[in-house]
Amino acid sequence: MTGKVGRRLSRSLLHIVIISICLMWTLPSFGLLANSFRSRRDIIATGWWTALKSPFAFTVENYMDVLTGQTHYGEEKASDKSRSILGDIITGQGIGRAFLNSLIISIPSTLIPIVIASFAAYALAWMRFPGRNLLLIIVVGLLVVPLQMTLIPILRLYKGLHLAGTFLGVWLAHTAYGLPYAIYLLRNFFKALPRDLFESASLDGASQFVIFYRIVVPLSIPSIASLAIFQFLWVWNDLLVALIYLGGTRDVAPLTMHISSMMSSLGENWHLLPAGAFISMMLPLIIFSTLQPYFVRGILGGSLKG
C-alpha cells in the first residue's frame, strides 16, 4: 500500500526535478529571444516576461537596426528608396557584414583541415611506415595542448609575413588547431572499417589512393559529416583565435568579435544585443536541430572510445 503511494510520489518528484532542470536550461535563451523582438523602450523598462501578456507588442526593428548598423532603419528607409536593404546589410557597419565574415572564416576553416586530416588519418590507420606509432602518440599528445601556447610565436610569424589581420591567416590557424582532433577522430573511424575490405581491394591491384577515395571516403561520409559539423561550429563560435590574429579591424571581424565589442561599448546599442546574439545563434541552432545526431557523434567520437 504505502509502497505504491510512495512510488507514485517519487515518480512525480522525478518529473518535477527533470522539468525544472529543463526550464533552467531553456528559459534564459527563451528570454533573450523574447527580448530581441521588443522595442528599445520596453527592453530597458521591464523584464521580457511582461511581454508575454497582451498587448503583444513585438517588433523586428532591432533586427533591422543591428543588421545594417543604423538606428531606426525602417523609418530612414522609407525616405530613401535608392538603397537596397541587402546592400546595406552586406556593406554597412552592422552585424550583416560580421555574419558574412563569419561564413568566410568558417567554411574554408572547416574544409581545409578535413581534407588534410582525412589523408593523414588514412595513412595512420591503414598504411605501414616507420615512425607511425610515434606520430600517433604525438597527435594524441597535441589534443589538449592549450592554444595559448602558440599565440605569441604565430602572431610574430604572421606580422613578419603580413598574415595578421587577413582571412588567410585565420584559415591556416584554424586548420592547424583543428588538425589533431580531426586526425584522431577520423583515424578512429577509419580504423573501425573492416580489414577484409582493404585486403581484397589491394589484391585486386588497387593503389592506396584508389582505396582511399573509392572505398574509405564513401564509407566514412557520416563520420566526416560529424567532424565537419563539429569543426564548423567550433570555428563559428570561436572568439580567441579571431581576436588574436584579426586584431581590431572591423571589416574582417566575425560575429563573436562584433557582439563582444557591442557588449563592451555599453549604453547606446544595449537593446540591440539580444537581436545580435540571436543572429549569431541562428546557424548553430539550425544545424543543431537538423543534424543533432551527427553533432553529438562529432563531440563524443574522441572521448568515448574505450
Binding site: 597535441l142 592554444l147 602558440t150
Partner: protein
C-alpha cells in the same frame, strides 16, 4: 600526410618550444631575465588573484558539471522524454560563449531595490522571494560564482550526453539482478552504477579540467576580469595586448601547459592501452 606534419610542426610544435624560450626573456624578448617572469607570475597580486580564481573555477565548475551530468543522465534514463530533455540541456553547447554571455548578461541585469527588475534572476529574488536584488557581476562576493554558473550552464549538457552513453553501457541484467535481490535504487546507484561508470566519469572530468584551465571567452566578454574575476587565460591576453609584455605572457602560457601535462600523459597512456586491446 606531409601537409598535416607541416601544419602540426609550424603551428603547434615550433610555437611550444618558442614560447618556452620566450618565457625566459624580457618584455620584447631582447634580454635574458631568467626566472623573472615566473617570479612575477607567482608574486604579482593580480596574477595571484587570477590563479586563485582558476582554482575556484577548477573545483566548482568541474565538480558541479560532472555531478549534475551524472544526476541528469541517471534521472532522465527513467522517463520517456529522455531524448528531448537531454537535447534541451545540450543545446547551449551549440552556441558561442559570447552568445551565452549575452543571454546571461540579461539574466543577471541589476536595478537598485525598488525599481522594476528586468533581469530574471533579480526579479525572482526580489519579487518572488522577497530578498534584496543582487548586482551579480559587480558584487565581488558573488561575481565569480555568477561567471562559473554560466560556464556550468554551457557545459553540463556535454557531460550529460557522454555520461548517459556510459550509463547505457551498463548491462541491464546486473541492475535487474540487484533489484530482484531487493536492493534500493539509492543503493544500486552508489554500489553499481557509479563504480561501473568510473572510467567515463574520469574522462569527462579530465575534459572539464582542460576546459576550465583555458576558460577565457566568458570572463573576457562579461567582466574582462575586472572586480576580482580575473583568470589566467584572460590575464595572458592582457599581458600580450594591453601591456605588450611577451615574456610574462609566455610564462603564463607555460604554466597552462604544465598544468595540462598530467592530462597529456594520461591520454597517451589510455590511447596505448586501447591500441593494445585491439
Amino acid at each position: 600526410m606531409g601537409s598535416a606534419l607541416l601544419f602540426l610542426t609550424v603551428y603547434l610544435i615550433y610555437p611550444i618550444l618558442n614560447t618556452a624560450y620566450l618565457s625566459f626573456l624580457g618584455r620584447s624578448s631582447k634580454e635574458f631575465t631568467g626566472l623573472g617572469n615566473y617570479w612575477y607570475v607567482f608574486t604579482n597580486a593580480d596574477m595571484l588573484g587570477a590563479l586563485k580564481n582558476n582554482l575556484l573555477w577548477l573545483v566548482l565548475f568541474t565538480s558541479i558539471t560532472v555531478s549534475l551530468g551524472v544526476a541528469i543522465a541517471v534521472l532522465t534514463d527513467r522517463v520517456r522524454y529522455e531524448a528531448a530533455a537531454k537535447a534541451l540541456i545540450f543545446l547551449p553547447m551549440a552556441i558561442s560563449f559570447v552568445a551565452a554571455s549575452v543571454i546571461w548578461r540579461f539574466m543577471f541585469e541589476f536595478r537598485p531595490a525598488g525599481m522594476d527588475q528586468i533581469g530574471l534572476m533579480n526579479a525572482l529574488l526580489s519579487n518572488l522571494l522577497g530578498f534584496k536584488p543582487v548586482a551579480w557581476l559587480v558584487n565581488t562576493r558573488v561575481n565569480n560564482f555568477a561567471l562559473i554558473g554560466v560556464g556550468i550552464w554551457v557545459w553540463t549538457g556535454f557531460c550529460t550526453v557522454i555520461l548517459s552513453a556510459g550509463l547505457k553501457g551498463i548491462p541491464v541484467e546486473i541492475l535487474e539482478a540487484a533489484r530482484i535481490d531487493g536492493a534500493s535504487e539509492w543503493r544500486i546507484f552508489w554500489r553499481i552504477i557509479l563504480p561501473m561508470m568510473r572510467t567515463t566519469i574520469l574522462v569527462v572530468a579530465t575534459t572539464m579540467v582542460i576546459i576550465v584551465l583555458k576558460v577565457f571567452d566568458i570572463v573576457y566578454v562579461m567582466t574582462n576580469g575586472n572586480l576580482g574575476t580575473e583568470v589566467i587565460a584572460n590575464r595572458m591576453y592582457k599581458e600580450m595586448f594591453n601591456y605588450h609584455h611577451f615574456g610574462r605572457a609566455s610564462a603564463i602560457a607555460i604554466i597552462l601547459l604544465l598544468a595540462v601535462i598530467p592530462v597529456i600523459v594520461f591520454n597517451m597512456r589510455r590511447f596505448r592501452a586501447q591500441e593494445a586491446v585491439q
